[in-house]
């Protein structure tokens, strides 16, 4: 881990204002922010570890546990809500056996909800990795997951 971190740090100045780019690079490397990496980032940017954790938990973009190989995002925005987004979410939850924010035991899927993905015309919508699915029917969900997920 030390070598990877050193490589990330070599791309930045060790100052307070570099903290967020450093954290983004760490997340790009590991998929989440391991506690040891946050402590290393604190030393590198010369801030307290509690401040690193404070900053990273303030933004929704940072993750604190390893994510699955596939990211499933179910839209819960207004249009999707009206068109049955909640039923889609329920179905995904029961199929994968996890709740939003969790990862399946085999590390294959991570489930999240989003407030809107800008595909309101296709509501209810769902995103698996980079594929966006519109007018999602609950009974087709397993197909979508298996089709897009590795």
């Amino acid at each position: 881990m030390k070598e990877q971190l050193d490589q990330i740090f070599s791309r930045h100045h060790g100052t307070r204002d570099a903290l967020i780019p450093v954290l983004q690079d760490i997340q790009a490397e590991y998929g989440y922010l391991p506690p040891e990496a946050m402590e290393a980032a604190a030393r590198f940017c010369r801030v307290a570890p509690v401040e690193v954790y404070g900053v990273s938990t303030f933004y929704a973009q940072f993750k604190f546990s390893p994510v699955g190989r596939n990211l499933v995002m179910v839209c819960q925005g207004t249009a999707c809500h009206v068109m049955g987004g909640a039923r889609v979410l329920e179905e995904v939850q029961s199929r994968l056996g996890i709740r939003p924010g969790q990862t399946t035991a085999d590390g294959r899927f991570t489930l999240e909800t989003v407030a809107c993905i800008g595909a309101c015309a296709l509501a209810p919508a769902m995103v698996v990795n980079k594929d966006t699915f519109g007018r999602v029917k609950p009974e087709k969900i397993m197909e979508m997951l298996n089709g897009s997920g590795s």
Partner: protein, 827 residues
Amino acid sequence: MPRLVIDDLQIEVPEGTKVIEAAERLGIMIPRFCYHKALGSAGACRMCAVKFIHGPFKGLQMSCMIDAQDGMVVSTTDEEAVAFRRQVIEWLMMNHPHDCPVCDEGGQCLLQDETVSGGHGLRRYPGRKRTYHDQYLGEFIAHEMNRCIHCYRCSRFYQDFAGYRDLGPMQIANRVYFGRFRDGPLESPFAGNLVDICPTGVYTDRSSRYKARRWDLQRVPFLCIHCSLGCSTVASARYREVVRIEARFNESVNGHFICDRGRFAYPYANLADRPRRARVDGEDASLAEAVRAASGRLDQISMNAGPDAVALVASDRCSLETLAVLKRISREKGWRHPAVFPRPDLEHKTRRAVSRLDRRLAVSMRELESADFILAVGIDPVHEAPMLALALRQAFREDAGIVVMDPRPVSAPFDFDHVAIAPAEIGGCLSRITEALSALQADSAAQGKETRRPEAAGPLRADLDSRIAGIVERLRGSRNPVIVCGTDIVRDSTPDRAADLARLLLQLKARPCLFFVLPGPNSFGAVLLAESPGRSFSDVVQDIEQGKVKALLVVESDPFKNFPDRERLERALDRLDLLAAMDYLPTSVVGRAHIVLPTCTVFECGGSFINQEGRVQRVEPVHEGGIPVHQVSGGGHPPRVFSHEVPGGEIEAAWRTALEVAGYTNARDNLSILKIMAEEHPGFARCRDIPTSRSFRVLPDAGDRPPVCEETGDRAAPEAADTLEVVLVDRFFGTEELSGYSPVIQNADSEPLVFLHVRDAEPLGIAHSDWISIALEGGGLEVRAGVSAQMAEGVLVIPRHRLLEWQKLGPVPAQIPFGRISRAGKE
């Protein structure tokens, strides 16, 4: 000055006063959580909403965020404001666990008070509450995050006010969490204040957990006696046991806060092995019998060997009452005057410092906060006078420059320039600064001359010159500079030199500018009452060895703690015909005394102390004394054994017992003691007129009298290049006597380190946290080394730590040859 109307009452307040503060001056307490006088406004809790009816603002506004302005008309009771506040408290209470019955804050909880005052009685929200994991924050503070209402007081105090970084806010929205990155003890020595400032029970005092509700406690405005600053506290007792210390606001000393040593040292008063019964030759006796025995034997020795064969020993933890009585009885009986200080140099430096302080020069700690340049010499603030570090931090936050001239690896919660020089060089630097400054001020040189005396500025290193020039420039350019001077590690003449510089600055800036830190809580009082020149304990030891002293009465003092040569002390004490000890601590001297006369702690008998700026502060007892109920009952409650007397209740204040030992049987009431104090020092006459809640300074007015300087031969700097100079120092925990007996502090204390400079350590092959052994004639010492580049070269910094038998070093040498220090094999 803006004039405004709040609830139909008019008030004029200084520019910049917040409306919430203006209302408080009228006696109207607007509900608040995040607002705190010392921390300022945050606008986080929305609880202090009031209605602005006229003026530059209209409608509902937060009274902590708006400065009072002319023509404002404010209502705190407007229906809209009341309804808003009721809503705010309802949503703040939404996730609160309602665990008041098991919460230590219950009964002294701002959240309880504001819930009631906000009019929120019935819970309407039926949903699930948000919950958190709590953290382990060390031995002092318990963490219960579920109770949090997100007012940010803790992180604002901890990070902004006190300057420590390991506790802070994390997460977002209603998941906001205050804590550390990982579990672990809080690093700040001021963390105990979280207990006081948290408006609910997130941070509670572990040492007093589950012991009492506030209304069950005997609470008394009290005084901290764990360093020379004399901070104000509130002491609480229950069932004859001190259970809690809190900070008390004091405008001129400590402000709102205290340090953790002051807060958690109190268990020394509750120790089960505290001397509670008088003893004569190893047998338990009543106090009266023991007093009779002591009195008789002392008189006998006085008669046979002359009164000069009886010596008194006291310490700077004795109250002014005790010291005055000891002075009185030693004079009337012809006994030797009490020796208060363990070493002659400490006595000398304290006396010099006290004699140079006057009303125009002395700065209080709160005044120090408004200084714009501070030169601190021979002091490690966090360790020697912790609240001074917090005061310096406040000056730093207002952009004051701070220079610390000290050999130790000083670390403090503010930025400063560290001039790391050996103790011998500090005095020379001060003289050079004084000379340069007065030479620069050609106009005022004529007046400056009279206070200057020929200085023998020693040879200084070349690299120091530019730093000294920099300090001179900054002193010149500052409006309100202050000199802070320690008395522990510096050479004998340094306090005088600091005072010389301060006198010059007083002429230039016309502002008080001198702040001394003294060795102990009553050092100031001890030198006021001392004969001149005073004796130190080492003189007494010498006289015992020569057979001049046959009897020793040791009053609230433990020579074993401070005397540098333990074996020599043991031999000397064995020679005595009589060793009588009066104390409330189970000290080594109490263990070997022929006659033991237990005394009361200051919690049980009160007392007066003079802090380092000459402020006399008097406190009343917290409880009446006696053995704590749970010790009498074996932990059960209520006790099953009953008697007419309070168990252990016959013990009295040291001054009362001392008077009795000297044969004064009818001068033991409170009025007589005030009379004795006034007779022993005219400055104490005011104690009779001033209530205990008020303090006063005993400082001479005479600013113009030329100071009487004593020339003293300073110990020279070590000349041989292959030696290290030994510097014995105090630490935050572990070196102060009373707090060393506190179990909670013992648990929290870390291992003591002996520090040396990295360039001194390298040739010896010593790295940081290696075990080293120091071999001397008197014995060896194995200890962990700290290696630092941020300290003076050529010194070996040894803490007088409880766990470190530095007394084994034998007669502490001025210097230790490199050859005697080596890496130890121990891992």
